[in-house]
Amino acid sequence: MRLSSEEIEILKIIEENHKISVETIASMALCSEETVNQTIEKLEQAKIIMSYPTLIDWSKVEGHENVVAMIDVKVTPKRGVGFDEVAGRISRFSEVSSLYLMSGAYDLSITVEGKTMNQIATFVSEKLSTIENVVSTTTHFMLKKYKHDGVIFSSDNEDKDRRMVVTP
């Protein structure tokens, strides 16, 4: 879909911060609030705006730590539908947070989230491995998150403003 420069401007602004008010977006993009509302609605309907996620570092919240695993999966593609059918099936499991078709040594890259390692192990052995066309799985548990979706999970806060209060 070809978008106008104004529509792209609005997308860039809400990509940076989706909580920003319509009024503020309008002043930043030099357009009316009505245009902002119409554009957002249009782009939501066109599935260009997919969702408004909030990125939370659950590892910092006591009692809410998640276990995350990345699983490499080899599958046998099916005539007529290739990888799409099996990928579609796997993607519907609530444990699966992302799924990509990859080039290289394996076919599907799956990210799975669970409360415990045992929960993920059960998912892999009982649900994923038993799907027809799944040939093999290799599970990598994520030990620490340093960067996710372009956001650095850092303790030494690089975003801290180290500038003096007034400078030339």
Partner: protein, 404 residues
Amino acid sequence: MSLEYNRYLSQTAKELQPSGIRKFFDLAASMEGVISLGVGEPDFVTPWSIREAAILSIEQGFTSYTANPGMLELRQEITSYLGTRFGVKYDPTNQVIVTIGASQAIDLAFRAILNQGDEVLIVEPAFVSYAPLVSIAGGTPIAVATSPVNGFKVTAAQIEAAITENTKAILLCSPNNPTGSTLTKDELLEISKVLKKHDLLVVSDEIYAELTYDESFTSMASIEGMYERTILINGFSKGFAMTGWRLGFLAAPKEFVEVMLKIFQYTTMCAPNMLQHGAIEALRNTYHEVESMRNSYRRRRNFVVQALNQMGLDCHTPGGAFYVFPSIRATGLSSEQFAEELLMQEKVAVVPGHVFGESGEGYIRCSYATSMPQLQEALKRIQRFIESRGVNPKKDTVECHTPS
């Protein structure tokens, strides 16, 4: 027994006025929880690949002096950058010096061209160090005042009216600190006619060249007949978010560079080796990051200008840099009173306009190189402050100047 120190000090140095910004910094720095719009530098940290290149160069042992005018590799990148971005061609072997910030480049330019009594025109409101640098070099700074009527842009007629038989040069800064005003190619053409007619030099401070928002930047050196009479000043501080690196450069006809290089080699020797490696990376591989920062500043500018106008502080739309320069006359306060009372009452730091010269009185400089949440909060506080002064918000946005 103590010395009579005054007797030993240089008369020129003694007569220099301390920067008004410094005085205001001391006041603001003593307070907790201040939101600062007083910062003349990017809020972005230097792009990582530039930092990484400098770190790597230290690891590899690049800790020696470089050639006086800077590493040839960096000078080649600089001339390639100036040619590609602004259409001005220089020879990296004898027309470029890598300096300790753009400020040193301006200092070198004045020391190289001025004799006692030479006058230099300075377009006001102006960056705080311009006039003192002229004085230090033995010249006399002559202010050419601009006003918001035409967006604080200096006109050819204003320049011509200020020229005397002692005028040697003009210092132009576009986009400008503190007003953000940006001269178009046509406006530079008109100015160039006057400068050629009166045989004047130009020290062209183009440090904000990467931060123009409404039209592409034109370098004075690219205007016909101006290359030979222009000392072009630029650097990495603003566009590449590298203020603390103190890396700038100048480019000029080799006859000027030869003289400036003599002063530079006796006073400085060369810019730090490892930082020059970072600068090479900046010019080679970080343009997409510069563009991303520019887009962010542009959006914030739009927001801030509209908010200030709506609350009743007339503010022209600047074409570049990251400052707005709204009028605070509606409050009945001087710019210094306004800045001090705003700081005390609402804990927002802005810079009073008078520190940029007499024509800056009645205005304040607000930098929008600050995150959107901080800007939104700061503007709320400014609105509350001016409402307490009886200034009524406007229903419609009224601007003194809108770029074409």
